[in-house]
Symmetry: C2
Subunit: 96 residues, 2 copies
């Protein structure tokens, strides 16, 4: 299982513009056959800090997600409002 945390840092004045884009990205991504979880959160201390918490069965599913129509169309529109580069962390569960 592949867990992903993707942290976006948006200009605060752009939040109203990016929220509909984020919502479409979440809705369409959750329809991908191999998406296990794709949830979006906002940092309580920074309204421009958006955090995706994702779960994929494997790296191939994540790579396929990054090639979808919705990803390749929406992510550049979202990233136009970045104030700093996103941070993407790919992780594996700690064995119990």
């Amino acid at each position: 299982m592949l867990k992903v945390i993707a942290q976006d840092f948006m200009r605060v004045e752009s939040i109203d513009l990016v929220l509909p884009l984020y919502r479409e990205l979440v809705e369409k991504t959750r329809q991908e056959a191999r998406c296990l979880a794709y949830d979006l959160f906002i940092d309580q201390k920074d309204p421009g800090h958006f955090v995706f918490v994702e779960e994929w069965p494997d790296r191939a599913a994540l790579d396929a997600h990054c090639r979808t129509e919705h990803f390749t169309r929406l992510v550049p529109l979202i990233n136009a409002h970045q104030r700093q580069p996103c941070i993407i962390t790919l992780m594996e569960p700690v064995a119990a």
Copy 2:
């Protein structure tokens, strides 16, 4: 709902020492009545970068977690192996 990402940065030479402490912390925290999720991951690119993905019903549940016997005993033992301070992000879901 309160989502938490807690990122620990451990010295790589300490990983074998902290893993049993982390495992006990996860096991005991999951037994807390108000813990909704408490999962631990390792960054694929940095074996000393441990990431908790947590879910609590509210801030009071998180505060109670931080006062438990297992938290107050184990976290200082874990933090003795830190190479840099942890980063804790408290978040709320983006409304659909």
